[in-house]
């Protein structure tokens, strides 16, 4: 049953991932019109779409006749062969080695990403221990560390680090903006969100994954830029602070800014666009999908049955 379920979810996820890959450009274009905080939610939804669709389709397929069978109700589904539902028949069947191997292969990207995230968490923890040795702890829990960086690090215990050179060379408003930006990351739990999104995005095709995660990172940064703008009551101070920090880090050599993300952030701060609200469209789309799922329950079940039969047998 487990390999059948995994392979079924993988097939649906692959289909959705392909469809999203083909419609990536208009999708990102539409998301660009939204306010950053709303865009973050939509982008997380987009990264979760293939896996979510797979699990939803599996639930629908199981719900049609497998669940009634499990709870002892009569199953009137005769399936593709007429002798019984092939999807239901998979339930008691023991999976072959090939099915197990195939299901392992299709889940490999998710396991690989999980391992990468675990490694990142270990490195972040180690960096925290190293930084604690050289940091001065501020009154609001901010660590002052050598250098010109400003970042929030680690999960589940995130710490905000502000570089001493940055504090020395930037004016007080800019430092306040940087600190508010990083503190917003900590309060929103952005590190956990990014880890979660990377795990969900591992089922996307590589180009789609890179584009979605890039857009998500930019949206997260812009959401925190907005908070920093509210703190200092002027978005241009935040824009100037971004450029000053990028220059500071550039002067120190080795690290500097990623131009694409910086462009988008500075431009958004200089000319905040009028943002469309997207939730009515989302509610409408979900209602249509739910209605279709109920109306096409039988067809979805048999499509699932045929697909699973094809893949597993």
């Amino acid at each position: 049953m487990l390999p059948a379920a995994i392979l079924f979810v993988a097939c649906v996820a692959l289909g959705v991932a392909l469809a999203m890959s083909l419609s990536l450009r208009p999708l990102l274009g539409a998301l660009d019109q939204m306010a950053p905080r709303e865009r973050v939610r939509w982008l997380v939804g987009a990264t979760a779409a293939p896996l979510g669709a797979g699990v939803a389709a599996l639930t629908l397929a199981l719900g049609h006749c497998v669940v009634p069978r499990l709870i002892g109700l009569e199953d009137d589904c005769r399936g593709l062969t007429g002798a019984g539902c092939a999807f239901c028949l998979l339930l008691p069947a023991s999976a072959g080695a090939a099915s197990w191997l195939l299901s392992l292969v299709v889940t490999l990207p998710v396991f690989r990403q999980a391992a990468e995230s675990a490694r990142g968490m270990y490195l972040a923890r180690r960096a925290q221990v190293r930084l604690r040795a050289v940091a001065t702890k501020g009154p609001n829990g901010v660590w002052r560390v050598p250098g010109a960086g400003a970042f929030v690090l680690g999960w589940p215990h995130s710490v905000v680090c502000i570089g001493e050179e940055l504090e020395r060379d930037l004016d007080s408003d800019a430092v306040r903006a940087v600190t508010a930006h990083e503190d917003e990351h900590r309060q929103r739990g952005d590190v956990a969100l990014r880890l979660f999104a990377r795990l969900l995005a591992s089922v996307h095709l590589p180009t789609t994954r890179r584009a979605l995660l890039g857009a998500l990172d930019t949206a997260i940064e812009q959401a925190c830029d907005e908070r920093a703008s509210e703190t200092v009551a002027d978005p241009l101070i935040v824009a100037q602070a971004l450029l000053d920090v990028a220059r500071l880090q550039g002067h120190r050599g080795g690290v500097s800014c990623a131009p694409a993300s910086l462009d988008a952030r500075v431009e958004a701060l200089c000319a905040p666009a009028v943002r469309a609200r997207a939730w009515p469209a989302a509610v409408g789309a979900l209602a249509v999908l739910a209605a279709l799922a109920v109306l096409l329950d039988h067809q979805i079940h048999h499509a699932a049955e045929a697909l699973t039969h094809l893949v597993v047998r």
Binding site: L153, A233, S256
Partner: protein, 130 residues
């Protein structure tokens, strides 16, 4: 020499030695151990560990050792930050870090100048929002 990972007590001992120069275990106990309710043997083993990590040097005086730091505080901070930078790169790549400005090995001062002009133009066009 790479700076090893240090615990809180090890850092406190190092800070004490940087502040007070050469000292022995009993001095460290009075300054750091007693306020934290830590025994002499714990202090001695901490000093021993720091010596093994090559952060302290020591010389025997009678039955006891006297300890001094092997590197200055500034050198320690520089090396610890260099070691942390490697970890930070890995953490950034894995998404466990969010930097104010992305830590990517790429620099384009011309692009920064263009963006600075954009900020200046925006500043002249509109008053700050209050």
């Amino acid at each position: 020499m790479e700076i090893p990972l240090l615990g809180e007590l090890e850092m406190a001992v190092l800070e004490h030695l940087w502040a007070h120069g050469t000292t022995d275990a009993k001095d460290v106990l009075r300054a750091i151990g007693e306020p934290r309710d830590i025994t002499l043997s714990t202090i001695q083993s901490t000093l021993e560990r720091l010596h093994r990590k090559r952060l302290l040097i020591r010389e025997r005086q009678g039955h006891a050792y006297r300890y001094a730091t092997a590197i200055s505080r500034a050198e320690f901070r520089a090396r610890a930050m260099a070691a942390a930078a490697g970890d930070l790169d890995g953490a950034d790549a894995a998404g466990v870090m969010a930097a104010f400005v992305d830590l990517v090995a790429r620099s384009d001062t011309r692009k920064l100048d263009q963006l600075a002009e954009l900020v200046a133009a925006a500043r002249t066009q509109r008053k700050p929002r209050r």
